[in-house]
Structures are given as structure tokens and as C-alpha cells.
């Protein structure tokens, strides 16, 4: 395990920000920590980095206790916490050089090269001498990721890494992270953007009001729903053929009960119905998250939220926590 926490709890005064979190991140995964705003993601990341001290519980990173062994652990961790930050009066290059010089280790001789390398990696290789103050949001984000990569970390802890990037930038960042991950770096990113986690991560943790409500491989979450989506130019014939199994129809698209798309296809083709699209419906991550989490902390309701669905959430294989 790269990260293992047990009963991790943080209270700020009377507010419990993180409540008994047992997070386990295996080596080599791309882990996505999802949750609405205020669910305790950032506080958890800060505790992993030793910035915030836990009220109770324990943290191990690389098998060493944090924050006691921070001096051993942190040199191998690259982090982006709640957005990038830099000394605004200096250039990006100067920022990275100073940041590199601030920590122990990292020989002076190859500092220049290392800084150029990471700037190249994040697509800032040709950046000029203007101060960071004049950078765009996207450039700052790239610089923040460059800073996280500076010492060739074993673990990348990234909080909202694609903030402020344009779609092309997001794509670049995604392939950079995948590349690094394939080279052996464990990537943990926290985000409230489902699409981002869905597109990048192999494992997902979901936090809600301080608790970790799910920790599962992404594939295990996306179970078939027992419905098949069918697109056909002959919806009327299909309706007739599949009498009773069609749950709904919108234009040429039908939702059919059942979980074997191959069987359905064979049946339709045999019945002379042309099929232009067919597939088992899988649950989206969005559905999973909405089922598991309450309203975000930024929503303030006048009345208490309606009671939970009496049928309860759909059981999730692999999510038994």
C-alpha cells in the first residue's frame, strides 16, 4: 500500500471535517478521490501531506508514519494542493529553482536541467522571463504541476489538477499523468469533476460529509443495469417483436429489459429488425456518486433534505466497505 490510513479523523472546533476514514491506495494505481465540495477531500489530502494534523487516527505513506516521518516521506511525494501557488514577483523558472533549492537534496549541478525538464513536460518549455503574476490561470496550473513533478516523485497527490485548463490542456495533462503512471508513479487525484476521474482513474474513492463511503476499482462500479439500449430505424417492428420487454421509447431509441445484448441482437436480426446501435446499459459514475452522496456543503437548504429513498442504494459489487 502506498497510502494507508486508519480511523483518520479531523475536527476543526465543533466541525468534524474528516470522520474515521480508512483509505487504502495500492501502488501503481490512478486513484480518484471524488466528493462534493466540503466533503473532506482537501483536508484528507492535507493530512496525508502533514500540513494538517489529525485529531485521531493514523496515516502511513510508503509504510512510514506521517507526519512524524515527513522528512523521509515527502521528498518522494509531488503535490498540488488546492490550486497552484507561486511567488508572483518571480518568473516560473525562478520559482521552480527556488522551490527546488528550498528542500534538502537535489544537487545544484543538475537543478537547471531538472527545472527545464519538468517545464518541458507540462508544456511550458518556452516560457519567458515574465513574472508569474502575469501568467494565465492555465499557465499557473501547468507550473503547479511542474513543481509537483520536480523531484521525480513516487506518489503524485493532485487536488483538482485540470482547473483552469482548456480542453486541449486537459487532454495533455491526462496523457502526461497516464504516462507517468505507466512509468511507475502512483497518482492520486481529488476532484469534484466526475468526467475527469472517469476518464483517468482506475480506482475511485468517494467521500461524503467527512466519511469515505466507497473505495472500489472503477470497473466494478460500472455494472450493467439490466437494461439494454437499442437504436433501430424500425422502432415499430422492434416494439412488436419485443412486446413487454421495452421499457421506454424515444424516437428511434428504445430501452429494453435484459442483460444479454448478444441474445437480443440475434433475436432482432432473426425477426428482420435492422439494428443500428445496441449495448448493455452500464451505470455511470455520476449515478453512483449521486446515490452515495448528499448535497454538497455549498448548498444551504431551508428545510431538511427529503428522507432517503426507502429502497436504499443499489448494492455495489466491490464497494463493500
Amino acid at each position: 500500500m502506498i497510502i494507508a490510513t486508519a480511523g483518520l479523523t479531523k475536527r476543526f472546533g465543533r466541525v468534524t471535517a474528516v470522520d474515521g476514514v480508512d483509505l487504502r491506495v495500492p501502488e501503481g494505481v490512478r486513484f480518484g478521490l471524488l466528493g462534493p465540495n466540503g466533503s473532506g477531500k482537501t483536508t484528507t489530502v492535507r493530512m496525508l501531506l502533514g500540513l494538517v494534523h489529525a485529531t485521531s487516527g493514523s496515516i502511513e505513506v510508503f509504510g512510514e508514519a506521517m507526519p512524524r516521518r515527513a522528512a523521509n516521506v515527502l521528498p518522494h511525494v509531488g503535490a498540488l494542493v488546492e490550486g497552484p501557488a507561486a511567488w508572483g514577483h518571480l518568473s516560473g523558472r525562478a520559482n521552480l529553482r527556488l522551490l527546488d533549492a528550498a528542500g534538502r537534496g537535489g544537487r545544484l549541478r543538475d537543478r537547471r536541467r531538472r527545472v527545464e525538464d519538468v517545464l518541458e513536460q507540462v508544456g511550458l518549455g518556452g516560457v519567458d522571463r515574465r513574472p508569474v503574476r502575469a501568467y494565465s490561470l492555465g499557465m499557473r496550473q501547468r507550473l503547479g504541476i511542474a513543481a509537483a513533478l520536480l523531484r521525480g516523485p513516487r506518489l503524485l497527490l493532485l487536488d483538482e489538477p485540470t482547473n483552469g485548463l482548456d480542453p486541449r490542456g486537459i487532454q495533455e495533462m491526462r496523457s502526461l499523468l497516464t504516462e507517468l503512471n505507466e512509468a511507475g508513479t502512483t497518482v492520486v487525484l481529488s476532484s469534484h469533476l466526475l468526467s475527469e476521474v472517469e476518464a483517468l482513474c482506475t480506482q475511485v474513492g468517494i467521500m461524503d460529509s467527512g466519511r469515505l463511503v466507497l473505495d472500489s476499482p472503477l470497473d466494478a462500479l460500472r455494472t450493467p443495469t439490466g437494461r439494454i439500449l437499442l437504436t433501430t430505424p424500425d422502432p415499430a417492428s422492434a416494439l412488436g417483436l419485443l412486446d413487454g420487454r421495452v421499457l421506454s421509447r424515444v424516437g428511434n431509441e428504445l430501452v429494453v429489459r435484459g442483460d444479454d445484448a448478444a441474445e437480443l441482437n440475434a433475436r432482432l436480426v432473426a425477426g428482420g429488425v435492422r439494428v443500428s446501435g445496441l449495448g448493455a446499459e452500464r451505470r455511470t459514475l455520476e449515478q453512483v456518486v449521486l446515490e452515495l452522496t448528499g448535497p454538497g456543503a455549498d448548498r444551504v437548504d431551508g428545510r431538511p433534505p427529503p428522507a432517503d429513498d426507502p429502497t436504499g442504494p443499489i448494492p455495489i459489487p466491490g464497494g463493500e466497505r
Binding site: V77, V81, A86, A94
Partner: protein
């Protein structure tokens, strides 16, 4: 980290602005005095100011007395209040800590950079005002009479140039320590809050409160422990023979402030949750 901190400080425009303003005030006073020859009557006005017109070499002492009560503390409050809170506001604090830079190491580097700032500030004021003083008022009557170019002490006896250099050196060191004590308090305040402005105002509140208590007889019991009480002790270095008593006391008290304030900063910062 110390090197990084110094490089960061020296590349801040605000720091240079502080230094320039500190040197500008004495220069302005010198120009006005030279132009009008209207010195304040003896006993009123700033220390040494009435003697400056006759001998430009006293001007560094007068300049230090000019910037000491308000100007210098304000700039020290700004620079030291910024130390941790400024990094917190900019967000760079969390990146330094996960670099990782040990918290004690970070505080030490900050204290050293404040020390370098105050030392350079006092030194710059001294050097600039010496040049300005000599340009505006000359070397004093002694030089024209073929004397050694010394300056008169408060006690009347003339100090030789070597004497002047030694005493000025001790003065610079002493004032730097006084200001460093303030800087250490600022560093402590800076760990209490994420707002540099709040830390700066806190330091100024300490200065104002201390200055308000100093002349009060009812506060005589705590006066020896107030930081501002000792700020003028360096004037005793210009007496002949030198009166070390108050300078010694000042060194102990101001040194004590540095130790206690830095200790408090460490105690608070070592386990502080960095949430900025």
C-alpha cells in the same frame, strides 16, 4: 533554505522600497536643514539634530534617531509580519512545507532574513546619511582647523575617527538587535494569522503600547521589560567615557525578546494546521 529566503527577500520590490524610504527621510531633512539653516533649538527636536549643522559627520546619529521611533519599526513590522502570513496568503507556504522544508528550518530562515533586512536597513541609513551629512554640512570646524576630522561626543570631548567608526559600528549592531526583537515578535504574530496586514498591525500595536507605557510612572515596574525602553540606549555610546550600563540591559532584554518570541513562534507553528 536560508539562501532561498535571502534571495526571495532581496528580489522583493517592497523591501527595496522600504530601504529607499528609510534613506529618503534623513536625506530630505538634511536638504531642508542645509537650505534653511533653521536647526531646532537645543533640547528639542531629534537627538543630535541641533549639532548637525556644525559637523556633518554627526548626521548618521541624527538620522538613526530620526527613523528609529516610527519609520524603522513600521518597515520591520511590514517585512516581519509578511514572513509566514505572506507565504500563507500566496499559498507558497504549503508548497514549501511539502517540499519538504522543516517548520523549524523555515522559521529560522525567516528570522535570519528579517535579521539581514534590519541590519542592511540600519547600515544603509548610516552610510547614506554619512555621505549626505558630509556633503551638506562638511566635516565640521575641526577639519578646517587641520584637526583629525573627529566629532564631539555628548560630553564635549572630541572622538577620533577610529572611535567614531567603532561606536557607529556598535550602534548599528545594537539597533539591528532592537529591530530584530521587533521582527521576532512580528514573526510570531505572522504564525498566528494568515493575514500579513494583521501581523503588521499587531507589531505596530506592540510598539505603540510600549511607547505609551514608557513615560508613565505607574508602569515603572514593567518598563525595563518593554522593548521600546531600550531603543535610545545607543545614544549612551556617544558619551565619553561610554556608558555601557543601559546598552548592556538593552542587549539582554532585546535578546530575550528574540529568544522568547522565536520560541513562541516555533511552539505555535510546529503543530499548526496549514489550511491556507
Amino acid at each position: 533554505m536560508i539562501g532561498v529566503e535571502l534571495r526571495l527577500m532581496l528580489r522583493r520590490r517592497r523591501v527595496w522600497l522600504c530601504w529607499i524610504l528609510l534613506c529618503a527621510l534623513p536625506t530630505l531633512v538634511a536638504i531642508l536643514l542645509a537650505a534653511t539653516r533653521l536647526t531646532p533649538p537645543p533640547g528639542s527636536g531629534g537627538a543630535f539634530l541641533s549639532a548637525v549643522v556644525t559637523n556633518g559627520q554627526i548626521f548618521p546619529a541624527a538620522a538613526l534617531a530620526l527613523v528609529l521611533p516610527v519609520f524603522l519599526p513600521i518597515t520591520v513590522a511590514i517585512v516581519s509580519g509578511e514572513a509566514i502570513a505572506g507565504e500563507a496568503t500566496a499559498g507558497t507556504l504549503r508548497y514549501l512545507l511539502v517540499r519538504p522544508v522543516g517548520r523549524l528550518r523555515l522559521l529560522t530562515a525567516k528570522l535570519i532574513s528579517v535579521a539581514v533586512y534590519v541590519l542592511l536597513a540600519v547600515l544603509l541609513v548610516t552610510v547614506v546619511s554619512y555621505v549626505v551629512g558630509v556633503l551638506a554640512f562638511g566635516f565640521g570646524p575641526d577639519a578646517s582647523l587641520g584637526g583629525g576630522g573627529g566629532i564631539p561626543s555628548l560630553s564635549g570631548a572630541t572622538l577620533t575617527p577610529v572611535d567614531v567608526v567603532v561606536r557607529t559600528g556598535v550602534t548599528v549592531g545594537y539597533l539591528a538587535l532592537c529591530m530584530l526583537a521587533l521582527g521576532a515578535i512580528g514573526l510570531f504574530f505572522s504564525t498566528l494569522t494568515d493575514s500579513p496586514l494583521a501581523a503588521t498591525l499587531g507589531v505596530l500595536a506592540v510598539v505603540v503600547a510600549s511607547a505609551a507605557l514608557t513615560p508613565l510612572d505607574a508602569a515603572s515596574a514593567i518598563q525595563p521589560y518593554l522593548p521600546t525602553t531600550h531603543w535610545l540606549a545607543w545614544i549612551d555610546l556617544y558619551r565619553d567615557p561610554i556608558l555601557w550600563d543601559s546598552v548592556h540591559r538593552g542587549l539582554l532584554v532585546e535578546g530575550g525578546y528574540v529568544v522568547v518570541a522565536f520560541g513562541a513562534a516555533w511552539a505555535n507553528f510546529a503543530t499548526k494546521d496549514v489550511t491556507s
